[in-house]
Symmetry: C2
Subunit: 345 residues, 2 copies
DNA sequence: CCTCCGGATTGAAAGGTTTCACAAATCTGG
DNA sequence: CCAGATTTGTGAAACCTTTCAATCCGGAGG
């Protein structure tokens, strides 16, 4: 009879305890776990009974220590509250569900310090690989991590050089088709809402916008920048108020927004201020998140293959861990314009 | 001079290598890492130089194995694509940022099998604790995990019994204030859109709705259930079409939606079908996600303190790991109604 | 009856860190 | 200049699993 102090937790059972309870050696318990076919059915049953009895839970740290690597991938998201990134993550899960892998999500929320903290911890955990949409895709730390042996795949950005795998969408092209569409609708002064030069995606979209203007023979002064501190719905609302405050002659007749969140905020301000969309202001968003189609005025937006982006990134990462002589690849998808009411008068 | 085979990775350096390079013992390297004040500045500098030189990365598995516990919390989300849950997660990050902890997010996406897989892996990893919005809050597995030593805090549900900590919002009350508001606006036939009996939160909200009707002397037949297979924007759109198809006399004049995503979908169908909101149909959502205020017709919604929910949950978990003689607590917050245009004629 | 074979099982080593009792070196004050 | 205290540094054990060479056993073939 076992007498136990009330409240004294019995130490969690390890394989050694299981072995003792089943009257076999440690090695046999390990075999039951890892190569059950090498163990006679009778023994196996006895060991499994002991495991159930003792509530044995495998210790992944010890496993990993021995094996040298884990069965975990991680995605460091730039912004967990933006549906775009959660959709990308869903695509990654499609790929990891296939293998015997877990995907852990980390949210850097645009903060370099948090990103760095997560990267450090993930590397220390010896995760099998890191997927990341970085604050700065050319930060040397990404290459350092890869060089030390943890594969890194950059998502939704293409870092310079070919030392890393990456999966991205052609943001310059996206900006171009968005503004070309507005030009075709007869607009000549176009606001770029959510200019935020530190975000590469935004820089590229703006560059595409300027190219489209140039192709139509219009100078970059036809693009009116409305800078915001971030790219949230609230930022869009604020920018909308500034836009509405511009005097008629210089006020743009159309807005190209850095992403859909900003566009939704802008749209809301228009509704509040009785500006008609698209008559007083045409609006194009970016990402085509689910809420874009569901907006007050359904939003024209540049659609990115987000789920595919995530799945491809995870597949590249897995390829990197299994292939011998892996060649880094930079995949670039092409976005497409989805035209809805917000630009059609 | 070190000659290295091209492509032959040098094995990652461990503390032993650092010790050798710095000409000190293993114990000293450990002291530099964990108790730097116990090491003379000169020695410390030498060791740190060696670590930099060898690109030493601490092995968290080994640490954890020795220490017996990790510095990781995990939140198993019910639905990563619902902004409600990412906001809850942001609240948890507020709390973990304070300590020296990481928060990993896992998305069960309403699938019991995925939830189980994540729980198993997290337990094997010996994470410091698990936060979870479970598919089934009364599943015995949660108690089993807690009994085996990994603290579990249930988020956005209150499981039966007092064997676990939990943080939730009073969904019955939420349903009650939503429908009471609609009754006050003169509606007497109310649709409940997104009835999905397997989701406890939805059951409770519906129960609250029925209580509000009863308080007004109306029977439960005044609530018209529109069931959906999930709670997404698309489900809301579909339900909207069914609702619009009901013959005039039995068609409800107001809809209480199980969450904001469904409400947004419903709203969109109304726009497509030229039903005016709130004149032809008043709509109340639930969660007050950011997009609710930004909708075509700004949405009346039941607001939950989501960030606070997350922060409190993480704090309870931390308390459980540090306090001796911890008492499990069940915290319940009270939601409030945010009235906007979608119900005000 | 002996040998050899294959399947089942064993025992010990290894993996990288932390901890802790202990030794060595240095300092304090008498 | 010494006893004792303090500061630094050491070495080995422990954490739990996996792996692998070695052993054991019962049976088949000679």
């Amino acid at each position: 009879m076992v007498v136990r102090e009330p409240g004294a937790e019995p130490r969690a059972a390890g394989m050694k305890d299981v072995a003792a309870a089943a009257g076999v050696s440690l090695g046999t318990v390990s075999n039951v776990l890892n190569r059950p076919d090498r163990v006679s059915p009778a023994t196996r049953a006895r060991v499994e009974a002991a495991m159930a009895e003792l509530r044995f839970v495998r210790n992944e740290s010890a496993r990993q220590l021995r094996a040298g690597r884990s069965r975990v991938l991680a995605y460091v998201m730039l912004d967990g509250s933006n549906p775009f990134f959660t959709d990308v993550a869903a695509g990654m899960e499609d790929a990891t569900d296939a293998g015997d892998l877990s995907l852990f999500l980390c949210n850097s929320a645009h903060q370099p310090s948090r990103e760095a903290a997560y990267l450090g911890r993930l590397e220390q955990q010896r995760v099998q690989g890191i997927l990341i949409t970085p604050v700065d895709p050319d930060a040397p730390v990404l290459h350092e991590i890869a060089r030390r042996g943890t594969p890194v795949v950059v998502v939704d950005r293409t870092p310079g050089g070919t030392a890393l795998c990456s999966v991205a969408v052609d943001d310059v092209h996206g900006g171009e088709i968005a503004v070309r569409h507005l030009l075709e609708q007869g607009h000549e002064r176009i606001a770029f809402v959510g200019n935020h030069p530190s975000v590469g995606q935004v820089r590229d979209r703006r560059l595409g916008a300027i190219r489209a203007l140039a192709a139509a023979g219009l100078g970059p002064d036809h693009l009116v920048d409305l800078t915001t501190s971030a790219l949230t719905v609230a930022d869009g609302r604020g920018a909308g108020e500034r836009l509405a405050g511009l005097p008629g002659p210089v006020r743009p007749t159309a807005a190209f927004c850095a992403n859909d969140l900003v566009a939704l905020g802008l749209l809301q301000t228009c509704a509040n201020l009785r500006m008609r969309v698209p008559d007083d202001l045409a609006i194009v968003g970016y990402d085509d998140i689910e809420f874009a189609a569901a907006a007050a005025v359904p939003l024209t937006s540049v659609r990115q293959p987000r789920r595919r982006l995530g799945r491809t990134a995870a597949e590249l990462l897995l390829a990197e861990t299994t292939e011998t002589g892996h060649e880094h690849r930079q995949v670039v998808f092409t976005p497409e314009l989805v035209v809805r009411t917000s630009t059609l008068r």
